[in-house]
C-alpha cells in the first residue's frame, strides 16, 4: 500500500474524501459515492499513481454493526508499474444501492460488479450486462446480505418428498438438525 498515493488522492479530491485510515498498513480512502468513476479514472491515468490493475472489487454489509450507510463497496487498486496499492471505498445506503460502474476503466470490473449485484444487491449504473453471475436467475434475494438466512434454500428441483423421506429413512443424519436458529435475524 502506498501512503504517497493516498495523500495525493486526498489532495485531489479534497472534500470528496470522507475519511482515510491505514489500519495494518493498508492505506484506505473512503470517498464520496458520486466521485468513484472520476477518481478511478484519475487514479489509473495519472502519472505517479498508475493504478492500472483493479485487484479486487467487493462489497461489505455492515448490517449487524448497525452502521450507516449499510454497504460499502471496496476497490483494491494495484499499480503493476510502480508496485503500489491503494484501497478505495464508497459507502452505499440501503435505500439507494447504486454505484457508478468502473467496468470500462478496468475490464475485470464487469464480472466483479455482477458478483456484487448478485450477492449484495448493489446495482452498478451503466453496467452493460447486469445479470446474476453466481446464483441462478430464479433466485430471490441477495444471499450475502446479512439479513439473508444462511440456510434458506430455493430449490430448482426436488424429488417428491416421500422419495426423499424413503432415501433418508427418516433420519437425514444428525448433522442436519432442522435449525430455526438464525433464520429470523430479520425483523418483520
Amino acid at each position: 500500500m502506498s501512503k504517497a498515493a493516498l495523500d495525493r488522492l486526498v489532495e485531489h479530491l479534497r472534500d470528496g474524501v470522507i475519511s482515510t485510515h491505514a489500519h495494518r498498513g493498508d492505506e484506505t480512502a473512503v470517498i464520496d459515492r458520486s466521485l468513484i468513476r472520476s477518481a478511478c479514472l484519475w487514479l489509473r491515468d495519472t502519472e505517479g499513481l498508475e493504478f492500472n490493475m483493479l485487484s479486487d472489487l467487493t462489497a461489505v454489509d455492515y448490517y449487524t454493526m448497525g452502521r450507516e450507510p449499510r454497504f460499502e463497496v471496496v476497490y483494491h487498486l494495484h499499480s503493476l508499474t510502480l508496485k503500489q496499492r491503494l484501497r478505495v471505498k464508497v459507502g452505499v445506503p440501503e435505500e439507494d444501492p447504486v454505484v457508478d460502474t468502473v467496468c470500462d476503466i478496468w475490464q475485470v470490473a464487469n464480472w466483479c460488479e455482477r458478483e456484487v449485484w448478485d450477492l449484495y444487491g448493489i446495482r452498478f449504473k451503466d453496467h452493460p450486462d447486469m445479470r446474476r453471475i453466481l446464483m441462478y436467475e430464479e433466485f430471490d434475494g441477495h444471499p450475502l446480505r446479512k439479513d439473508y438466512p444462511k440456510d434458506k434454500r430455493q430449490p430448482l428441483y426436488r424429488r417428491p418428498q416421500h422419495e426423499i423421506d424413503e432415501a433418508l429413512a427418516g433420519r437425514p443424519g444428525s448433522g442436519h438438525r432442522p435449525g430455526f436458529g438464525p433464520r429470523n435475524l430479520l425483523e418483520s
Binding site: Y157, R159, L168, G175, H176
Partner: protein, 178 residues
Amino acid sequence: MGLEATTGRLADAVAWARKYSLFTYPFATACCAMEYMSLMGPRYDVARYGAEFPRFSPRQADMLLVVGTITERQAPVLKRIYDQICEPKWVVSFGVCASSGGFYQNYTTLPGIDHVIPVDVYIPGCPPRPEQVLDALVMLQDKIQRHDGYSQRMIELEKREAQMKKKKKHGSSTETSA
C-alpha cells in the same frame, strides 16, 4: 424387459459382466474430482476393476459417479443426466458434499443428492481416499451381482405392476365372459 425377466445362470452371467464393465459418467464438479483423478491415476488405478472408461455420454454410462458438491443450480442438470442414462444404471455419491452437502449447509448447496436422484452407494470422506472409493466399487459390484440397485428395483416394480394390471384385466374379462 427381456433379460430382466429371466433369472438364474444367464442373469448371473450378465450381472457378472455388468459389474466388471462399469462405464462411468463422472459428474465431477469440485474437490473430489481431484481424488477422482487419483483414482484413475496409476497409484490406485480403478482400471483394475474395468471401470476406467469415463463416458461423457449418458447413453453409454452405467454408473453415475457424482463427484463433488452439487449446488441447487446444478440439481436440475444432475437430474437430467441421471434421467438420460440408459438402464441399467447405478449412482454412487462420491464424498460428503454429494452425499449430504457436507459442511456446506447454506443457501446454495444441495443437502445431499438423494434429494434429487436416488443413490445406491454413498462414500464418506472429504474427499474420500481412493481406497474408500474402491471399497465402494466393490460394494456396488456386490450389489450388481445381487441384481440390486434402485433402477433395478424400479424395473422390477413396474413389471409387477404391469403384470398385475394385465392379470386384473384378464381376470375381469374372464369374469364377464363367465
